[in-house]
């Protein structure tokens, strides 16, 4: 039994949450999920949609900054959608995650010595493309890492920068397949109720 008088500052503090959502691959799902956020005027910090390891099942990874109380309510609303198989909330430390960033820089800045190249290497970035006019760097990491490199490169004149949504894998050992199996075998699709008042 939870104590309703407990200190709820923990519930009310804003922090970053990663939502991992499994859905059937149906058109309109992205819209169905994002309107839940829009209606509550909640911002999605990053979103990524991809096929999962199970054919026909898609995985959404959404990053948001909010309170525990709010994220719990949002997740319940997401789970309520007919074609959502499952939705899980993770706090920092409960998932392994990465984002990928691409930086487009003028080729000429690489020509005046190896300073930039060392910078790139020391940040674990790699050169993806070399063109006459520009060079594209790629770095995978957490947002603060890709951000740090962005700030370092800023003075050299960045032509274009883009960062992907987060992709995240939980630290729990459960297989998605096992989760789906449990859904399939669940007996909550019909009502087991004694009919004692003549009404179904």
């Amino acid at each position: 039994m939870s104590d309703i008088y407990q200190d709820n500052t923990e519930q009310q503090a804003e922090k970053e949450f990663t939502l991992s959502i499994l859905t059937e691959n149906k058109p309109g799902m992205l819209n169905n999920i994002t309107i839940i956020f829009t209606r509550r005027k909640l911002n999605i910090n990053a979103i990524n949609v991809s096929a999962s390891e199970i054919p026909g099942v898609h995985r959404y990874t959404i990053v948001m900054i909010t309170t525990r109380d709010q994220v719990d309510k949002v997740v319940k609303q997401i789970r309520k959608h007919i074609d959502v198989l499952g939705a899980f909330v993770y706090e920092e430390g409960e998932t392994h995650y990465q984002e990928i960033a691409l930086y487009k820089l003028p080729t000429r800045i690489f020509l005046g010595g190896n300073h930039i190249e060392q910078l790139v290497r020391s940040h674990g970035a790699r050169i993806l493309v070399i063109e006459e006019e520009y060079i594209v760097l790629e770095k995978t990491g957490h947002k603060n890492e890709t951000q740090e490199l962005l700030e370092i490169l800023q003075p050299y004149g960045i032509l274009e920068f883009v960062r992907s949504g987060r992709v995240s894998i939980s630290k729990s050992k459960r297989k998605t397949e096992k989760f789906l199996e449990e859904l399939e075998n669940s007996t909550t699709h019909i009502l087991y109720k004694k009919n004692n008042n003549g009404k179904d």
Binding site: M1, S2, I4, T23, E24, G28, N31, N32, I35, R39, D72, K73, K76, Q77, R79, K80, I82, D83, V84, L85, L180, L183, E184, S186, T187, T188, H189, I190, L191, Y192, K193, K194, N196, N197, K199, D200
Partner: protein
């Protein structure tokens, strides 16, 4: 299962090739649909063409506006417990349904709405009568789906009925492109019985059940609130059993009305902003609050932070998203109300709480002296809404289905109507849709021809869907319509008086002659203004065969009390 019509009798080995449109009709028949409310138009014409051959099997009611179709389907569903069905064409036909669909969504009413859509090759081209119905209806449906391939039709309809009617019910919309309606398929129907991503009936957690029983058994001032979920689950008997076994006073939300007969000794009244005095203030004095099939709407809770802070809260609720949404629970049982109560009942110790119940009765006396007596037996010549309801109760004996619109008359009717039978109160609760009552009453009467159906409607609301008098007239639907006319948008006027310094901004109405309108539709209509006519006019209305309309001119500036001012605590309910 018996074949529903000769046309459904096919030998198993025989391949049955039908058009998509005919598959729609056959699928509806498979689901046991007997009535459809709708309005034809370009993109749904093939379905209407198929319907033409099934007039005997399927009763189609041609409404006068698609909003009327949706509300009529709601009224039908709420009166029968079955799924309401409506048809509309693409574009404006579909958008006109939206208010009714939104109403059904917030009030958990199962509907299957079938809309025609422009041919699939024209989708997204801004073609004639094209609107993004899927996008528009997404936030207000339990599920929606666009059929662009003929062979998807039986599957989509089977799924629609399963989703609409199970778990927490709600509206489903199936949008079918015109080419899919014209196409052919090999017709086979299989009812949907399971969707792996949808779990409508969570089992009550036995530990939670025991915890709840423990709280109820230890309670000194237990208090039970019942909502629409009790009616939807058919858990009326279980609620009464629990109340009687543990001696728990029971109050009802607006949509829970009629679940417990109003004359039951443990029934203490109606909750919320214009609810009864005791049920509101005792919320903040009980020690265990048992909420069954209700969602703590803000019209019930007032300021949620000051709502039952002293109480341990047990929430029995089928929709997990409602649990801890507004009021934090001590114990939540996530299950169908009836199922949960059946699990709970064996663990409940028989007891009585006479002193606690007496506290409610004492409140009743205060409310009676300050409000009810003046409302029900008013002095002066002008008719008051509450005495109309009092006399109506005397005539119906509490056996009628009462359909109300939105506003003062709705609150007065909800406060004073006597209910003897369940599923007897039909109103727009969550959305508060003016214009709901006339078409909903019509749908309710079609669903339950055996019951007296009385629509109680304000002069504002009736004019929002007044054209449905045409439908009522065409099909001779014997609903009894009462217009409580105060020439004001009364509830807004009351707020203007109380909270906006009597600045009556656009709430006064210059109304048409409702009797002439009624008569123009061939509906026997009468208007009264004096108290001495009230009883005989109401008796006459009920006794009239077929549809009938009675306009009652009521006091212009009557206020509904008690009242919990918006955003205030339920403890601060005002009696005057």
């Amino acid at each position: 299962m018996e074949p529903l019509s000769k046309t459904l009798e096919t030998k198993p080995e025989e391949k049955r090739i039908v058009t998509g449109s005919e598959a729609v009709i056959l699928s509806l028949l498979e689901e046991g649909v007997d009535t459809v409310f709708g309005y034809p138009g370009g993109a749904i014409m093939p379905i209407y063409d198929a319907l033409f051959g099934y007039e005997k099997e399927l009763n189609h009611i041609l409404v006068r506006h698609e909003q009327g179709a949706a509300h009529a389907a709601q009224g039908y569903s709420r009166a029968t417990g079955k799924i309401g069905v409506c048809f509309a064409t693409s574009g404006p036909g579909a958008t006109n349904l939206i208010t009714g669909i939104a109403d059904a969504q917030i009030d958990s009413t199962p509907l299957v709405c079938i809309t025609g859509q422009v041919p699939s090759h024209l989708l997204g081209t801004d073609s004639f009568q094209e609107s993004d119905v899927l996008g528009i209806s997404m936030p207000v449906t339990k599920w929606n789906f666009q059929v662009t391939r003929t062979e998807e039709i039986p599957w989509a309809i089977a799924r629609a009925f399963y989703i609409a009617g199970t778990g927490r019910p709600g509206p489903v919309l199936i949008d079918i492109t015109k080419d899919a309606q014209f196409g052919k398929l090999e017709y086979k129907y299989k009812k949907c019985e399971k969707i792996r991503s949808y779990h409508p009936y969570p089992h009550p957690d036995e530990r939670k059940v025991l915890e709840a029983a423990e709280l109820i058994n230890a309670a000194r001032k237990p208090y039970m609130l019942v909502g629409h979920g009790v009616l939807l689950s058919g858990a009326e008997n279980e609620v009464i059993q629990l109340a009687e076994k543990a001696g728990i006073p029971v109050a009802s939300t607006l949509l829970g009305l009629s679940a417990v007969p109003t004359d039951h000794p443990l029934y203490v009244g109606y909750l919320g902003m214009h609810g009864n005095y005791g049920p509101n203030i005792k919320t903040n004095e009980c020690d265990v609050l048992i909420a069954v099939g209700m969602r703590f709407d803000d019209r019930v809770t007032g300021d949620a932070k000051k709502y039952a802070p002293q109480a341990k809260v047990i929430h029995i609720e089928i929709d997990p998203a409602e649990i801890d949404k507004i009021i934090k629970t001590t114990v939540a049982i996530n299950a169908d109300a009836g199922h949960a109560l059946q699990s709970l009942l064996p663990h409940i110790i028989e007891t009585k709480h006479e002193e606690w119940l007496q506290e409610f009765r004492d409140c009743d006396e205060i409310e009676y002296n300050k409000v009810i007596q003046k409302d029900m037996y008013p002095e002066g010549e002008k008719i008051k809404m509450a005495e109309t309801i009092r006399i109506l109760n005397e005539i119906t004996g509490g056996d009628a289905i009462i359909v109300t619109d939105v506003g003062q008359h709705q609150m007065v009717a909800s406060r004073y109507t006597q209910f003897k039978q369940t599923n007897s109160n039909i109103t727009s609760g969550g959305l508060g849709t003016m214009g709901f009552a006339l078409p909903a009453a019509m749908g309710a009467k079609i669903g339950r021809p055996d019951r007296l159906v009385v629509g109680i409607i304000g002069d504002g609301g009736i004019q929002m869907t007044i054209q449905e008098l045409g439908t009522i007239s065409q099909y001779n639907i014997p609903v009894k319509i009462i217009i409580l006319n105060n020439n004001f948008l009364g509830m807004v006027r009351q707020w203007q008086q109380l909270f906006f310094e009597k600045r009556y901004s656009f709430t006064h109405m210059h109304n048409p002659d409702f009797v002439m309108i009624g008569k123009a539709y061939g509906i026997p209509s009468e208007k009264i203004e004096n108290k001495d006519q009230l009883k005989s006019a109401l008796e006459n209305l009920i006794a009239t065969e077929g549809p009938a309309l009675l306009e009652i001119v009521v006091e212009k500036e009557e206020n509904v009390f008690p009242m919990v001012p918006s955003g205030d605590s339920v403890s601060n309910i005002r009696l005057e």
